[in-house]
Every structure is written in structure tokens, then in C-alpha cells.
């Protein structure tokens, strides 16, 4: 709901708010430039002195104005010819032209009215209102996504466009709210919707004398130049006219014959508020604030572009489901809880495969859950993503509450499949909540809860085979999550390990594919990658890509992965049989969640078997000599000590501070979690001092490591879960 309130007004108002923010950002420079360029009055100078000096230089002066920047302008008539100049207060002489800056005038008119008069002013006010509304809906969305106010500046994960959108928004939103609110106030003021002030009534009684020098007038002697707004001189030869003084405080009239104050009116509260708002909006009188607001306004076009990309990606990610059956006739009900749309892609694959197998299938968003309509249903399958910190995704709103209010669970058994990213602490939390709610309701289970990590096609195919077994059909789910453009990689060298311990493993090194100019400019495909990113390999004979962690970065000059031959594995079989000169088809997928990050904090890298790949890549790339402690589990040092040749070199070069190995074959099997426990004191100290932990390897190993760390950290009051929430404990498991 909020998402729709953010998206549609955002797309509609995009052009308007872009013009508003770009012109506003350009205008924000002028107050600062004026402040720097304008000759300033010396401290403590009075209006009397200033008026005296200017009158000395320009006897025909009829008005002196001071802008909030401190710029003083005088207007005079010299034998009937009007003149004006910016004044140097030190001399009273003209220092620069007083003509308005034409660029600033053009930008101002564009900014406030699109050169369209009152209609344009109203359009721009609508733009400002849209910006304010987008700011509020955006704040709600960000708060929901990061899991509360306190996490406002938390680290973000996910696709680049979405992250950029939020990175900019959470800083710029302050300025945008301020600028749009003040804009609306100023529009209301322009259209006389707010009370204004007034000037005092013209005094009836004046002395009738003339020629009292303004330099002697008591009020002008008391008033510092800093408070001056405007001083108007009486008409020459009109003894009934008066001096008019406007200051920060109010407006008054002074007798030209005696210098006495004839009348005075203070600024009203409304006027003061309006002036403050004018200052906050324009930066006139607050040039630094103006520049900051201008910079923040520049975020608007950037958010426009990234917002459109997020929207298009979400749209493109939701495929059309062909041959969807009505809810009342379908044997299988597919309920989809998707945030960005990628889960719909999986649903479409499942829908197509089940339909091919002769099933009648109805797919619907989880929010449309209505069990009384599923009269022919034999089973209900729930595909559920998770939003943020365990919330329901957009298309699953209301599902849990509807399930809770049912009298009894639906008769057809349910299978829940969660979609998520294991690097999030709340991995598949919503799917787990759905599964628990179903169990609490007594809903019979078709399949136990299962999860898909990072849209893994392998995970999905594995789950599909399980489903097929239960249904008694052969179900092959070949899901291709919008496959990126692939490249051909040529193997340049291979090193073999582990044959003696029945774990044939190879370090495969491929030549860097040539990047096109466009790829280099945009950092697309293999033009930019680091260790820990993923490579998708398309094996011959299967459309489903397999993901491997990269053990090298672009600047290493090659693409390296570590592959273990799985018994009966299609892709690992082909890869481990690859000879130099042969090629594979591959694409790159970024994995920003599994990176050491910037900074100098120590790193604790923990891996076993092929999990050493990205960790070795981090060590190899550690030219800044960040302290790295590597825990590596293997079977036997004589057989599968991957990167065993490089390790001493890396230690000598300072890339690696400490290497701890665990050997699982032998009299006393020793695993990497055991190695951790042996170093408990050191590990706890490092983590207390801010170390980051990266774990790569099999799921069982990762669980063992998490348990070991929980025990090690218990005395310090920390926990792996707390570290995960901080982004200091990340896993890449398979």
C-alpha cells in the first residue's frame, strides 16, 4: 500500500520534481557567491555612518537597501537620471553593478513558476507537495525495510539501484522535507493565504523643517548596519515627507527636520516566521545551509533514475503466468508472497512444470488467500519471500491474519517454500512464520518447510524433485532467473588436489574475457568483479546455471574458482574434466553481501574444502596488509591443502597474519570449528576489537562454526546473531 503510494506519485511527478530540484540546486549557489563577493560593513558600523558616507558620494541618494548577504545597494537620482550601485560600506562609493543577475532571474522564474505565471506557481507547489509526500512514504518504507528507526543508517544489501536509492534518500530526506515544506509556505504566502504585516500609518504632524543630516539622527546612530533592511530618503523639496527605516525589528518614520522618530511598528509574529522560512528555503542569509540543501536536492534526479530502475526491475521480474486455472477448479493452488517480483518467476516455472505434468494449477498472490474458494484443491503450495527484518512481502499482506481467523485449517495439505538470502539475519523469517502458523492451526503438511538461498536454481530443482516424489510425477524444475548475458571463458591452467582422500578438487584458472567499452564504462559483466562474487556456469545438457564463488578479483588478471567433483554432478563433472584451452559458458553475479568491506578492522576468515576459494582471494588481494586470520579445514595436508603453496608466500608478504589448519582425516579428526575453539581467547579478543567474520563452505560446517562462535563469544556478551545484525558476521554457504 505504502509502496504504491510511493511509486505512482513518484513516477507521475518525476519530471516536475526533477526540474524543481535541479533549478533549486543551481540557485543554492547564488547566496554563497553573493556573500563572498559583497563588500561587508565593518563590525559595529551604524546606519548613520553608512548613510553619511553614501550621501557624501551620491548626494541624490533616495534609497539604501541591505540584502541578508550583507550586500548594500544604493539608488539615487543625479539631475533626474536614475543610478544604482552595490556600495562598498568602507567608502560609500559604488563597487559593482546593481543590475539583477539574469541567470539567477531566469532560474528563479523556472523554479517557482516554469515561466507560466500563477498556473506555473501552482504546478510547482504541487511538485513540492509531491516531494513532501514522497519523503514521508519513503521514510516509512525505509524504516520498514531496515527494521525500525534505530537501524536508519544500517548497511544495505540487495541490488545496486535499490541500495543507491535508499543511500541517497536517507541522507537527503531531511533537506527535501525542509525545502518542500518551506516551498508550500511561500506559495501560500504569495497567494495571500497567510496573514501579513503592515507599515505604520503616515504621521500627520511633521516639523516642516528639513536638512537634518541622517548621520546625526539618534535612531540611525543606534542601529547597526547588520540590522538594516532599507532606508528611504524623503523627496527633495517636500518638507512633509519623512525618512523611512526598515530593520530586522520593524518599520519606522523619522522627521527630516529634527531626526525624531515619528512612528514605529514592530514586525508581526507571522512576518518573522515568514522571513525565517524564506531564509531556510532560499539560503538568503544562511548560505551554507543553502548549499547543503542544494546538494541534497541533487539527490532527487538520482533517486528518480534509481527509482525507475527499481520499478522496471520489479515489473520485468514478474512474468505472465499462462493458462492459470480458476481457483475453484484447480487441484493445486500456488500462493505467492513476492516483494520485488523474483518469487513470481519461480512460481511461473513451477506453474508451467505442474501444468505440463497434467495438473490444473491456480496461482495467486498470498494476499488473495481465500480457502473457501479452493473447492477442488488437493494441495496448496506457498512460495514466500521475506521483506526486511522478517516482514511479509508486498504480495502477502494480510495472509497471516486471515489464516489466524479461519475456523479450521483448509483440508488440502500445505507445502511452504521460503525464498531468501542467507547473509541476512532474518533468513526466510516470513516463510518460517507461515509454516509455524500453519502448524499451529493444525494444517496438514504436504512437505516440510524448505528454503531457497539467493534464488539458487539448484535449491529449487532439488525441492522440485521432492515435490514430484510426493505427487508421484517426474518434476524437473529448470528455473532461469532472468539469465544475464553469458561469456565464454577459456581455461588457462588447473591444479589438482584431493584424489588420495576421495575428494577430487581442482583450482581452475580462466583467462579474463575481453570487456567491451560499454562494459568497462558501466562495470558490467566481467569488467568489474572481486573475490567473493559469484560466477554462474551453464553446464552442457542443462539450462540451470550452477553458482561458484570467485577466488580472484579483476585486478588479479584471471578468473579463478575452486571446484570439487560431486558424485554424479553434471556441472562439477564437466568442470573438473576441463583441460587448458577448453571453454565454458558463464556469467557474473555480484555478491556484495559477502565482502570484507573497507576499513582496517581485522578479518577472521573461516572455510573448509572448496570454501577456501573466496577466502584465498581476499588474502591474495590484501595488499594493504589488513590483519587476516585464516582458519582452514581440510582432509589431509598432503592431499587437499588448497593454496598450500601460496600460503607461506602470503604470510611472508604480510597478506596473512595467522593460518590455522584443521585436519579431519587421521587418528584424531579435527574440524575447523575445533580449531576455532582452540584459539578461543584470541578469536574473542579480535571480535571484541571489531574484527569481521566471513565464513565460506558447506552448510554443516557453517552451523558448526556458528555454534563454536556462540560458545566462544558467550563470556563477552556478544553472539553470532548480534554480529550478523551488525553485518560483521557473514556467510556464504552451499
Amino acid at each position: 500500500m505504502i509502496r504504491a503510494l510511493h511509486r505512482w506519485p513518484g513516477l507521475l511527478a518525476l519530471a516536475l520534481v526533477t526540474v524543481l530540484s535541479l533549478s533549486g540546486a543551481a540557485l543554492s549557489v547564488f547566496p554563497a557567491a553573493e556573500r563572498i563577493a559583497a563588500p561587508q560593513a565593518e563590525a559595529g558600523m551604524t546606519v548613520a555612518t553608512l548613510a553619511d558616507r553614501i550621501q557624501g558620494a551620491y548626494p541624490g541618494v533616495d534609497q539604501i537597501r541591505r540584502a541578508p548577504s550583507g550586500r548594500i545597494t544604493a539608488y539615487w537620482f543625479d539631475q533626474g537620471t536614475p543610478g544604482a550601485a552595490v556600495i562598498d560600506p568602507a567608502t560609500g562609493q559604488g563597487a559593482a553593478s546593481a543590475d539583477p543577475n539574469q541567470t539567477q532571474r531566469w532560474l528563479t522564474n523556472l523554479h517557482r513558476s516554469l515561466f507560466l505565471g500563477d498556473g506555473g506557481r501552482i504546478a510547482m507547489a504541487v511538485g513540492a507537495a509531491a516531494m513532501l509526500g514522497l519523503s514521508f512514504s519513503g521514510v516509512l518504507l525505509v524504516t520498514r525495510r531496515v527494521g525500525g528507526w534505530r537501524n536508519w543508517f544500517t548497511r544495505l544489501r540487495g541490488p545496486l539501484a535499490g541500495r543507491l536509492h535508499i543511500e541517497i534518500a536517507r541522507i537527503a530526506v531531511v533537506g527535501l522535507v525542509l525545502s518542500s515544506t518551506t516551498a508550500l509556505w511561500m506559495t501560500a504566502s504569495t497567494f495571500d493565504l497567510l496573514p501579513g504585516g503592515g507599515v505604520p500609518a503616515m504621521p500627520v504632524e511633521v516639523s516642516g523643517e528639513a536638512a537634518f543630516a541622517p548621520g546625526q539622527m539618534p535612531l540611525l546612530v543606534e542601529t547597526p548596519v547588520d540590522e538594516l533592511r532599507e532606508l528611504s530618503f524623503p523627496y527633495p523639496a517636500d518638507a512633509t515627507d519623512v525618512f523611512t527605516l526598515k530593520t530586522d525589528q520593524g518599520t519606522g518614520y523619522l522627521d527630516q527636520g529634527t531626526g525624531a522618530l515619528l512612528a514605529w511598528t514592530d514586525l508581526t509574529g507571522w512576518e518573522r516566521v515568514s522571513e525565517t522560512i524564506y531564509m531556510l528555503h532560499t539560503g538568503q542569509g544562511a548560505p551554507t545551509l543553502g548549499l547543503v540543501l542544494g546538494l541534497m536536492a541533487l539527490g532527487v534526479p538520482a533517486m528518480g533514475v534509481t527509482g525507475v530502475v527499481v520499478w522496471l526491475a520489479g515489473r520485468g521480474g514478474r512474468p505472465r503466468i499462462r493458462g492459470n486455472q480458476p481457483a475453484g477448479r484447480a487441484e493445486t493452488i500456488l500462493l505467492v508472497g513476492s516483494e520485488g517480483g523474483s518469487t513470481w518467476g519461480f512460481a511461473a516455472t513451477l506453474h508451467a512444470a505442474l501444468s505440463r505434468a497434467g495438473q490444473s494449477v491456480h496461482a495467486a498472490p498470498m494476499s488473495a488467500f481465500s480457502p473457501d474458494r479452493y473447492t477442488s484443491a488437493r494441495r496448496i503450495i506457498v512460495l514466500a519471500a521475506t521483506y526486511g527484518d522478517g516482514d511479509s512481502p508486498a504480495s502477502a499482506k494480510g495472509f497471516l491474519s486471515r489464516l489466524a481467523t479461519l475456523d479450521h485449517a483448509p483440508g488440502a495439505p500445505v507445502a511452504v517454500l521460503g525464498f531468501g538470502d542467507r547473509s541476512f539475519p532474518a533468513y526466510c523469517a516470513f516463510a518460517k512464520a507461515v509454516s509455524e502458523a500453519a502448524r499451529a492451526k493444525g494444517w496438514s503438511e504436504l512437505l516440510p518447510l524448505d528454503t531457497i538461498d539467493r534464488q539458487s536454481p539448484q535449491d529449487f530443482a532439488r525441492w522440485g524433485r521432492g515435490l514430484g516424489k510426493v505427487l508421484g510425477i517426474d518434476l524437473e524444475l529448470a528455473h532461469q532467473p532472468v539469465l544475464p548475458a553469458t561469456e565464454t571463458l577459456t581455461l588457462i591452467s588447473r591444479r589438482d588436489y584431493g584424489n588420495e582422500v576421495q575428494a577430487p578438487t581442482a583450482i581452475l584458472r580462466f583467462a579474463l574475457p575481453k570487456a567491451t567499452l560499454w562494459q568497462r564504462l558501466t562495470g558490467a559483466a566481467f569488467a568489474r568483479f572481486t573475490a567473493g562474487d559469484l560466477i554462474g556456469i551453464l553446464p552442457e545438457g542443462s539450462p540451470v546455471p550452477r553458482l561458484y564463488s570467485l577466488a580472484s578479483a579483476r585486478r588479479d588478471g584471471f578468473v579463478e574458482i575452486v571446484v570439487k567433483k560431486q558424485p554424479g554432478g553434471l556441472c562439477s563433472g564437466q568442470l573438473t574434466a576441463l583441460e587448458p584451452g577448453q571453454t565454458v559458458t558463464a556469467f557474473l553475479r555480484r555478491n556484495p553481501g559477502f565482502q570484507p568491506g573497507r576499513g582496517k578492522a581485522p578479518l577472521i576468515l573461516i572455510g573448509a574444502g572448496t570454501g577456501i576459494g573466496p577466502l584465498a582471494g581476499f588474502v591474495r588481494g590484501n595488499s594493504r596488509r589488513r590483519p587476516i586470520h585464516l582458519f582452514f579445514g581440510m582432509r589431509h595436508p598432503d592431499s587437499d591443502f588448497l593454496y598450500g603453496e601460496e600460503m607461506p608466500v602470503w604470510q611472508d608478504e604480510g597478506h596473512l597474519v595467522q593460518l590455522v589448519t584443521a585436519v579431519s582425516r587421521g587418528a584424531r579428526p579435527h574440524y575447523v570449528q575445533d580449531a576455532l575453539r582452540n584459539e578461543a581467547a584470541e578469536v574473542a579478543r579480535l571480535i571484541k576489537d571489531g574484527a569481521r567474520v566471513l565464513v565460506c563452505g558447506g552448510r554443516d560446517m557453517a552451523a558448526g562454526v556458528a555454534d563454536a562462535l556462540a560458545d566462544i563469544l558467550a563470556p563477552t556478551g556478544l553472539s553470532p546473531a548480534a554480529l550478523k545484525a551488525e553485518g560483521r558476521y557473514v556467510e556464504d554457504v552451499y
Partner: protein, 156 residues
């Protein structure tokens, strides 16, 4: 170019008894290229003693800027009722404002003076930009303003 026909709806001060006779008068104001935004103009009449009698036209619709038409604002206290129904758009640099009004015969050759105050955003306020006595002989004779008005004339 603005051509407007407005029946003079002046304040009671101008509708004295005996002023039943009236004739259409065209007021033509041409601005010079002063290089700023649209000018606010107040056209009004004072009697021989300089006392404000009534307004003929207000070019500019945002009353919050009227205080910059200094003399008119002082004379009227900024009372927008003075220009109710005789208000139009501000006049751009280099443009001409042409208004036709029915003015009482008795206003001519009786010591009345027509004034124009002018103001432009971020530029000088120019009260009493133009001050011409209303005489039948002076009709059709253009005068020049002090800062913004290239020529002003009234034709009968």
C-alpha cells in the same frame, strides 16, 4: 499589449455631485527594457493639494508586493478595496499597458494630477515614476517616467 475597457469605478472621492458627464479616456503606458521581471504599476489621481482622490488601475495581482508602490501604499494604507475590480497583470519590460476608462469631465483642467508608482522585484522602488496634470490640452502628449516608463500618454 493589453487593451482593456473598464468603467471607472472610483471611490466616492471622485464621484462628486455634478460629475455626471464622463468620456472614454485611453491611458497608454510603455515600459523600457530595464532587464527585470514584470513591473507593478499603480495609476491614481491626487487633487490640487496633493491629497489622494482614487485609483484608476493596478497592474499586479499579489497584494503582498503593494507596499513597494510606496506613495500609493502610504496614501491608501495598502487598502486593496481601492483597486477592487480594476486590477490586472503586471507589465513585462518593453511591454505596453493600454487601458480605456470613462473619466469624469470634471477631472480635467481642475488641478488634478495623475500619478504612476512602479516597482520591480529585486530592483529599485520608483514611487511617483510619472506625475502629469490632467488637462484637455495635455492629452496625447507623451511624457517619460523616471526609471521604468519609456512613455505615458492619455488620449481622449
Amino acid at each position: 499589449m493589453k487593451s482593456l475597457l473598464a468603467t471607472l469605478a472610483l471611490t466616492t472621492a471622485l464621484t462628486l455631485p455634478g460629475l455626471a458627464m464622463a468620456r472614454p479616456v485611453t491611458l497608454t503606458t510603455t515600459l523600457n527594457s530595464y532587464g527585470g521581471d514584470g513591473a507593478y504599476l499603480a495609476l491614481y489621481v491626487t487633487d490640487a493639494s496633493g491629497a489622494y482622490m482614487g485609483s484608476l488601475w493596478m497592474a499586479g495581482t499579489k497584494s503582498k508586493y503593494y507596499e513597494h508602490l510606496t506613495d500609493w501604499y502610504r496614501a491608501t494604507g495598502g487598502d486593496t478595496a481601492q483597486v477592487n475590480g480594476i486590477t490586472g497583470a503586471s507589465v513585462g519590460a518593453g511591454r505596453t499597458l493600454e487601458i480605456t476608462l470613462d473619466l469624469a469631465d470634471a477631472l480635467f483642467d481642475a488641478g488634478y494630477t495623475l500619478h504612476i508608482d512602479a516597482a520591480v522585484e529585486d530592483m529599485r522602488d520608483s514611487p511617483n515614476e510619472v506625475a502629469v496634470p490632467l488637462t484637455t490640452a495635455g492629452a496625447g502628449t507623451p511624457v517619460t517616467g523616471r526609471r521604468y516608463i519609456a512613455s505615458f500618454a492619455y488620449d481622449m
